[in-house]
Symmetry: D2
Subunit: 212 residues, 4 copies
Amino acid sequence: MSEPKNAKQPMIVGKAALIMIDWQRGGDYVPGEENGIPLMEGHGDAAPLARRLVTAARAAGVPVIFIQEVHRPDMVDFGRELDGAEDVHCIEGKTSTEIAAEAVDFRPGDYFVPKRRYSDFYHTDLEILLKGLKVQTLILTGGLTDVCVHYTFVDSHQGDYYCRVVEDCVSGSSRAAHDASLNAMEYLQAGARRMSGEILAAFEAMKPSLAA
Amino acid sequence: MSEPKNAKQPMIVGKAALIMIDWQRGGDYVPGEENGIPLMEGHGDAAPLARRLVTAARAAGVPVIFIQEVHRPDMVDFGRELDGAEDVHCIEGKTSTEIAAEAVDFRPGDYFVPKRRYSDFYHTDLEILLKGLKVQTLILTGGLTDVCVHYTFVDSHQGDYYCRVVEDCVSGSSRAAHDASLNAMEYLQAGARRMSGEILAAFEAMKPSLAA
Amino acid sequence: MSEPKNAKQPMIVGKAALIMIDWQRGGDYVPGEENGIPLMEGHGDAAPLARRLVTAARAAGVPVIFIQEVHRPDMVDFGRELDGAEDVHCIEGKTSTEIAAEAVDFRPGDYFVPKRRYSDFYHTDLEILLKGLKVQTLILTGGLTDVCVHYTFVDSHQGDYYCRVVEDCVSGSSRAAHDASLNAMEYLQAGARRMSGEILAAFEAMKPSLAA
Amino acid sequence: MSEPKNAKQPMIVGKAALIMIDWQRGGDYVPGEENGIPLMEGHGDAAPLARRLVTAARAAGVPVIFIQEVHRPDMVDFGRELDGAEDVHCIEGKTSTEIAAEAVDFRPGDYFVPKRRYSDFYHTDLEILLKGLKVQTLILTGGLTDVCVHYTFVDSHQGDYYCRVVEDCVSGSSRAAHDASLNAMEYLQAGARRMSGEILAAFEAMKPSLAA
């Protein structure tokens, strides 16, 4: 698999981590109560692909980090998040807020980082974890492309990480917003947009050989 | 002037500040050396409008904060900023890096915040200044709509500020990216997109009366 | 109860919160495994007092926030914490790491903030929570006076909060270190050192009257 | 020179930087106006030693970073800094606020980081600079031992840096506070307390040989 012509860096620099952004159960929308996030057509289909990425990462020794957006039940920590297109979402303790464990193979003991805002870095311990793991390249999957994925990309970019987005494994609030955010990420790091096939091949190549 | 129907908050909540993002001189592009930032057609025209906003803000007692992107001459602090669409830019000491003082009425003693990254909040003292000023609403102008303006909006949104973007007073790297980022900001806070006329009228209304 | 002569601010400014720092079970020291934190004589006695503060805060409508230091079981997030006087401590999943719930009346649904470092603010959501609660004054109890309490005080001081330490309700790694840190906090905010009696009286005075 | 017995890490791990904390001119105290920071006897004597460290660092290719505490002239950014033992200090534009350039050999083009709070990391670009320089060990000199030096040490410790304090090249607000803070730093990282002779010898050993 060849590198994109315009890329100024290899796809993976140093040690990589797979960042699983907000693979939560979701469910029916109940106004003012639950799950009030718009979603483009076709979301959900990406979970099997995400699961394959998780499996391949584990086999390759690539750390997998599961992120969960979660708000306190008294809604004290929503800040300005209800002033826009999103209604109440991701309340702690609701089934819809849980990571979709079976779908994406989230297991007890996996790295897990809860967050209160869109960026995975915003007032979370993600950077502490990444420093401890000595990770330099982040591979992003999940949703929404134009919210949590995009703004996590921006903070990782600003924090000097090499950052890649698996474009067939992220979903946006609309097709147009999804496309625009992918372009914006590519603007920041040429070669950031990647297909799952490339990532799977890279993970496969990292797998320790069984031969003695 | 009526509020947009969908807005969930007034245009200005509490005390406002006018944030002048990266109104720098710019100049000719010299590859690998200077000013390597793409720009949509029509940029530059907004400066007279920006200046009117500054004048109106001063008259109304609204703090004006000038932001400057600036990098150390040995380029040690570029991080991943040269891995994408931008070439070398905003080197300390170059004329092109200076605030376009006459154009936007930047004066000695004005609030000034230099930064190393795209978000005005990222490892700067902006939040310290805003806390000191007891500001709750940020009004953003400048460029690029889809980079520094957008990502400053995101951090101010995540930091619980009410945030507005003056859409006839910001410019993007391309028309499409500009439009997409305006939509993304509106997604975060309904009623975020504003025209300079509305802001000027609001500042006018805040002006202390001269009558005794 | 009179204010200290040197105090430049009232004991409580605006809305207060009671910060319960690291009231964890602890237990026997197992080298390289568990609970390797030095402690001055007499620690433990403060829990009943802490519990009285919690009860009084609840009655007064003052938010109570429980903090827990906790490290990932693979110890990837210890950073430099094992280079000094402390051995392995606060491993997730160990009984000794749990909040001493009965002792300090920690209940399901209480505000809870886990952390990876000494300052309660360092890469945690504490500031998001405090902004949501509109808290301006922090009242600190717990341990260690000279580590987590002191460094949380510093970050809250730097973050413009009014900060008080309940000196009969904190314990240090040694008596000398405890005393030095209390002095250092008083250096930052005159009148910061307070006795539990003063705080209890203030909470009592805030209690909503039952009379109609 | 032998390592301290208790040290768990070498004196210098990876690449080092010399951090020159608040070597400012100072001057006479004018109540409510200027320079209101207490100081232990004997301060000032350390400048020649600091200058020798700077010279040795330059010769060894060790980056030197000068830090300056500075507040806006309208005092909007003092936060809670005037609630304690310190009076007005470090106002931008005052001679007393300038780095004592001749005394410590501060030159145009040197790395320079202004700050609004005590920790050199708090809302500054220091971490961006250190990442760019790929520095792992910080060597601290300057003042006050028990305020800016101590709290910078804490943040660098929490940020996974190896941190050393040159104890004959720092000064405190009082002898007791100075001593207590040195002990607190040693608590965090055993072997943190170092004498200038050790550091000078280490820098000497790093000097590139002139022999071909």
